[in-house]
Amino acid sequence: MLRCAIVDDNRRFLDAARGLLEREGVAVVGTATSGAGAVDLVEDSHPDVVLVDIDLGAESGFDIVARLDRLSPPPRVILISTYAEQDYAELIDASAAIGFVPKTRLSAVAIGNLLRRATH
């Protein structure tokens, strides 16, 4: 089973995302609402993939991606957002994330597709 962690500053979204992904067969090993929490979570749980919101209000998701990428081993990260992908395309490309999924299109299938593409 795919093990996943979610980083977002909105509790209700975290709950809804966890509920949907677990219903679709993904194990959500933990959630975090800040960069520091994300680092702790990854170091403790070593998830297969971390979903990171682009805009956490106080923090930038890109900064969190950069922090996670400095861990050893670095986790695979997928950026999520309510913003359109094309708005952030070049920042997403420049980041260490393997891809982007709009929050409204979040699903086990979408995550699986990105992971397969990244592996190949």
């Binding site: 909105n10 949907l20 219903r23 890109f62 952030y88 409204t104």
Partner: protein, 469 residues
Amino acid sequence: MTGGVSRRVIVASALLVLLVGAGFAVLLLSVQDLRDSERQARQAAAVLAAANQVERSVVDLETGQQAFAITGQEQFLAPWQTARSQLPDRLAALERVVADEPAQRAGAEEISRSATSYLRDYSEPLVAAIRGRPVSTPSQAATTEGQRRVDAIRTVLDGLITTERGLSAAAQARSDAAAGRAVVAAATGLVGSVLLILGFTWYLSRAVVRPVLITAAMADRLAAGDLAVRVPEDGVGEIGGLERTFNSMAASLAQARTDLASSRARLVASADETRRRIERDLHDGIQQRLVTLALELRTVQAGLTGDQFDLRTRLDEITDDLGSTLDELREISHGIHPAILSDGGIGPAVRMLARRSAIPVETEVTVTERLPPAVESAAYYVVSEALTNAAKHADASVVYVDVRLLDGSLRLAVRDDGAGGADPANGSGLIGLTDRVQALGGTLTVDSPAGQGTTLQVSLPVAPEEISS
């Protein structure tokens, strides 16, 4: 500095009047002197003429009576007769011309007395005596007596003539002196007036004309918008006042413009801040809740069993509707304020605009630094509006966007290959953009010749300390 310009002008004019007046007064007096001298010369000529007439008459009497005495013939007595009849008139004429000269009057009277005495007491008795005897020679004694009397008369006449000549010479000397004074007065007056007028002109040009010209030139520059211009405040009196008034006017204009510019900048910044806040509220509030609802809906959907086909279809429709609603909301939110501008700065924001554009856009953005939010917003909206116009109105096939930092300014150029002929004053969002750019102290120019595309150029000043990497 005592007194104003007008007081100095009055003093200078009074000096000029005094100088010219004094010159003319001396000239008038000299003319009067000259006329007196001329009258004296005429008087001398008249006295000399009258004296000569008297002398001729006396000589005619003497020679006539002698010729008569020698010949005894009446015909030789004709000159004597003539002289005898003329003498009283001539003596009267002599006394008349010297009537105004006390010094000469006594001499003239003496001549009159002795000439009359010569005629009555000597000449007439002698002629009568000669007529009394047939032929004789005058006695030696009588002849000597006549000569003595004539000499005496001549001596007095010579004295009178000499005195008159002396008077004439003295008058001539006074006349020369008066003429000399007139020349000196005229020369002094002329030179003095010329110097005073030159000095006056120089003073007026330095104290009035030059400062006024300088102030007028400065006023032109002020009118042209150069509010930093000031004039030197070293003018005299009223001119100095004018200069100080001009400078305080320029200063208050500059202050008013600065205040206005700050106020505009604050308004724009406040509007930007409001838009940013609305976008954040939408993103953190409604958008997040709708997204969450969509996910929860899909969770419910995933939990349905296989035989609830109708419900699944209905839920699919609702999920799709919700997705469309979210897309619409996202576009509205993006229009209010693009989050990428705050997150990534002008480079990513401009390239995002290029990706969203309906026509191909080639971007050249060399700015990687972060600039003040107001500058980034202005630059973003300029590019956004220009791309919209190029797609909507210009019928362009490609647009080139160039953004760079140069000489302390952010330079933007948006060029398309469309129809051109755009009029920035004609509606369009360009007017609002011009306001926004000017509020930041920048400039916006549109070059859009018909058939040759449109080029929009914007320059926004950025202080070095406002740039962060």
